[in-house]
């Protein structure tokens, strides 16, 4: 029932006729507020990256030789760190370790040498091989690489391995 008086002008009647649209708008707005709250909660949980339980992850190669800490949720153009830790005894006879990175790292990311700087790098069909010198008698060899995603909406499982060992395939999502 309309609350308008019988002598309400035509303009006001026309406005009142659009009330059902306004009521739909209010309903959609309430849904929108709930969606905004969900976005904030998702961001707090790390779903959009930059910290939070969902954003950071760790994986190990099947043979346990290489531990990889990485950001699962990455963002286009935002630098992210790939921390790799080779276990004791991973170094070969001349005291070096070799990391094998998926070709996708050259295609979908911009790769910057981190710390330490590799003493040799070679790109082949099976990806990028980076050689690092390990300190004599080191229990573990830790390497840090800086990555910058260059493709948005990317869902990737790039292979990372120690030498010719079996690779780990961390799941990475890139937000725009």
């Amino acid at each position: 029932m309309t609350p308008l008086p019988a002598d309400a002008p035509a303009d006001i009647r026309r406005i009142e006729d659009r009330l059902p649209f306004q009521r739909r708008t209010w309903r959609i707005q309430r849904i929108g507020w709930a969606a905004m709250a969900l976005v904030v909660l998702a961001a707090l949980s790390g779903a959009t990256g930059r910290g939070g339980p969902l954003a950071e992850a760790e994986t190990v190669t099947p043979d346990g030789a290489l531990r990889i800490r990485y950001e699962r949720m990455q963002r286009l153009g935002a630098p992210t760190l790939l921390r790799l830790e080779a276990r004791a005894g991973a170094a070969n006879r001349d005291g070096a370790i070799e990391l094998r990175l998926d070709p996708a790292f050259l295609r979908d990311w911009r790769l910057r040498p981190g710390v330490p700087v590799p003493e040799a790098a070679a790109a082949g069909p099976d990806g990028l091989r980076l050689r690092f010198r390990a300190a004599p008698g080191a229990a573990r060899v830790a390497v840090m690489l800086e990555l910058m995603p260059e493709r948005a909406f990317l869902v990737a499982r790039p292979a990372i391995a120690l030498g010719d060992g079996p690779p780990a395939r961390p799941l990475i999502l890139v937000w725009p």
Partner: protein
């Protein structure tokens, strides 16, 4: 090339968020609203330009935003539904001196907000001096006083 989809994404996301937030958000700018707008602008700027500080990119971003705005206004002119979707529709808040409280509550307004506008626009003192109050799409409240009520008129 990348600047155009970036600008288009911002152009679509920001108005959608403000539309969802509702009219009250931009109804009357308080000092805090102003600061909030500055922060939103600052947060958006990076996404719009990335790490490219060239004049070309800035010009492309601005041109894309303005072109999209013109395109949107032309579309709105042709499609009434789109105009209602984007700008919203007016809503009657007071009819014949009776405040329609359920509507006010949904629009996050109260009788004080209506009376504030009634005082400012027409010098009205009581709700029953208002014939109609309408919440406009822009977030403003317009007041139509009863005949004889209001500033400079006898009675009331």
């Amino acid at each position: 090339m990348e600047t155009v989809p970036r600008a288009a994404a911002i152009y679509l996301v920001l108005p959608a968020l403000f539309r969802l937030a509702g009219r009250r958000t931009l109804r009357e700018m308080t000092a805090f609203d102003f600061i909030l707008l500055l922060i939103i602008g600052e947060a958006t700027q990076q996404a719009l330009l990335g790490d490219d500080l060239s004049v070309t990119t800035a010009a492309v971003a601005v041109t894309t935003l303005i072109a999209l705005d013109i395109a949107m206004s032309l579309l709105e002119q042709r499609a009434g539904f789109l105009e209602r979707m984007i700008d919203g529709v007016p809503t009657v808040l007071v009819a014949d001196g009776t405040p329609l409280r359920e509507r006010m509550r949904r629009a996050r307004l109260d009788e004080q907000d209506v009376m504030e506008r009634a005082r400012a626009l027409h010098g009205l003192e009581r709700m029953d001096q208002i014939r109609f109050a309408v919440l406009e799409p822009g977030g403003d409240i317009t007041i139509i006083p009863r005949r004889g009520a209001g500033r400079g008129e006898a009675g009331g």
